[in-house]
């Protein structure tokens, strides 16, 4: 089903949704944009933002997340508390929706992770098509600039109004409940064509990555790396974590938490006896980029990268994974 909605009506819709859901939307902070919980539709920006500084992964995998709580007396009791608050993420870009689809695959394969999945199930995604590509975006090369699934509602800005596509029953439900704001339409629109500055050759990535593990570009680029892990913090598909215990002062009540950790940090591969498996920055940079563009494509057929360009944007020493990928492919 497809609908049209005017900008004013859309803001009205948001105000109605805020009453029933926790609504998370891009908010302008200084020069940048970031996803935040909003209290009214006036806080959001609809048109001029390209992408947020941080990815929306933190709403599904918080920086510090409780796996279970425990009480330790003569017996040990454990309590699993799986979150169930209803939320809406508004204005999420196609690359980030694709990022969530990749995370879904990881968190449902082998042993399903109910904490992540429950958050996913309870979150409605109202996605927003991009009209212009950002400076760092390269989603066009990876096919993550468009959406066929994963969204509940997909909005496309046509200039005068928003074109609305319905992806799921939840999305249809929102339209039905607020039918006075929507106008049904038969007309299909053409999605905006995006022009990208950055490109990668997605077809050959796995082959060249496997062939050029010892290419000199790795050393060259890693020389500048300061191992700050900014790239992995902002990445919408970086999901690695530590499992740690936190207790109160008596040590009897506590929680087992998972906290973000990053393969770019030295401690990530430290084991007992003080062995570190990836000691050099080159190895850690390789692990990050190989994981994004090679390993998962080989084993699962999907890239762990959605081309959002956040890692390039946030890198203070200008390490660009498209540059490395192109160098390996023999372009540039």
């Amino acid at each position: 089903m497809t609908y049209l909605i005017q900008k004013n009506a859309l803001l009205k819709l948001l105000d109605r949704l805020i009453k029933n859901y926790e609504v998370i939307a891009p908010v302008k902070i200084g020069e940048d944009y970031n996803f935040q919980r909003i209290g009214s539709s006036g806080e959001i920006c609809l048109r001029d933002y390209k992408n947020t500084i941080f990815s929306p992964k933190e709403f599904f995998l918080p920086k510090s997340d409780t796996l279970f709580t425990f009480q330790k007396n003569r017996k040990v009791k454990v309590f699993s508390n799986i979150p169930d608050e209803k939320r809406i993420i508004f204005g999420i870009r196609p690359c980030d929706v694709n990022g969530l689809l990749v995370l879904d695959k990881i968190f449902t394969s082998n042993h399903e992770d109910p904490i992540y999945m429950e958050r996913r199930k309870n979150t409605i995604l109202i996605a927003l098509t991009c009209n212009k590509a950002g400076e760092y975006c390269f989603c066009g090369s990876l096919g993550t600039d468009s959406l066929r699934e994963g969204f509940d509602l997909l909005l496309t800005d046509t200039g005068k109004e928003f074109f609305v596509e319905v992806g799921t029953e939840n999305g249809e439900g929102i339209v039905k409940k607020n039918y006075d704001l929507f106008k049904w339409t038969k007309r299909k629109i053409e999605k905006p064509r995006l022009k990208f500055k950055r490109k990668v050759d997605a077809k050959n990535l796995v082959t060249v990555f496997n062939k050029f593990y010892n290419h000199k570009v790795w050393e060259q680029e890693a020389k500048r790396c300061i191992s700050c892990a900014a790239c992995t913090i902002v990445c919408p598909t970086c999901y690695c974590y530590d499992v740690q215990d936190v207790t109160d002062i008596t040590g009897k009540n506590g929680e087992r938490k998972r906290n973000w950790n990053f393969c770019m940090l030295l401690n990530f591969t430290r084991v007992a006896g003080n062995t570190v498996f990836r000691e050099s920055r080159t190895e850690r940079l390789k692990q990050f980029i190989y994981h994004k563009l090679c390993y998962l494509k080989e084993t699962n057929g999907i890239f762990l990268c959605v081309g959002c360009g956040r890692c390039i944007q946030s890198c203070i020493v200008d390490i660009d994974l498209t540059y490395i990928a192109n160098k390996l492919s023999g372009k540039k």
């Binding site: 454990v78 990881i106 082998n110 109910p114 593990y213 690695c240 591969t269 190895e283």
Partner: protein, 291 residues
Amino acid sequence: MRFKKLMKLDWLKTKTSNPYLPYAARIEEIIQDSDTVKTFRWKFVKRKIQSSFVFIPGQFFQVSVFGIGEAPISFSSSPLDMEYFEMAVRCVGNVTNALFELKEGDLIGIRGPYGNGYPIKNFMHKNVVMIAGGIGFPPVKSLIEFILDRRDDFGDLWLLYGARDPTDIVFRKSLKKWKKEKDFEILVTVDKADTKWKGNVGVVTSLFDKTEIPSENTVGVMCGPPIMMKFVTGNLKKIGFKDYQIYLSMERLMQCGIGKCGHCNIGKKYVCLDGPVFCYEELKRVTEKIW
């Protein structure tokens, strides 16, 4: 019946609602193996779990000391022992040091088993050479006890064990017991001898000169520090072992055990899902350096 269950891996796929929840287990007995190594004999508090819990030698589990954290530890007892499970632990980290503070009767948390374990089917009707270094011995011990339990299904056995010094040698009782077994050659060496030590001195690879190991119809199984495994693999290949005859147990600090946390990535492999036991044939193709 238990053996049949072991050979089927289907039960591994059974889901619990929250895979991070450990089951409570009680420490039944603590055996001091050396200054820094203790064997903990534990049992699940719930009898139902105790009787349905099965593992394969080489697999690991996550042990929790509530309030301190979790650590991946391998089983050191035979999988055919239904009464209790054993783990041998060296105190080197937060969790293992906290384990050393515990007394008999204390509660710990266990979740698992995780990983693949030794491909025992591939070892059947073959000679098995086992090489253990330091605290890499426990999973090998579990394998030995399993093999000895079904002795007729396996060919000749070798155990080459290297410890840092004589006080570091663990499982002395078991070593003594195994010496009586037929067609089972046990060689022990220490890196540094003391005045009383009369046995071999040198790294574990030096033991290869002391015995004759056939390369045909034999598998080599090793567990130990990375540097040891690197050289042992070289030695085995020198004798004439093919890559597919060599099995290694890789060490990483698995934090989730279920292929999510990312700590145990070696190239595209996950130690907690594809390992910890890898065939060298498989491992050598990994792009990342393995030791």
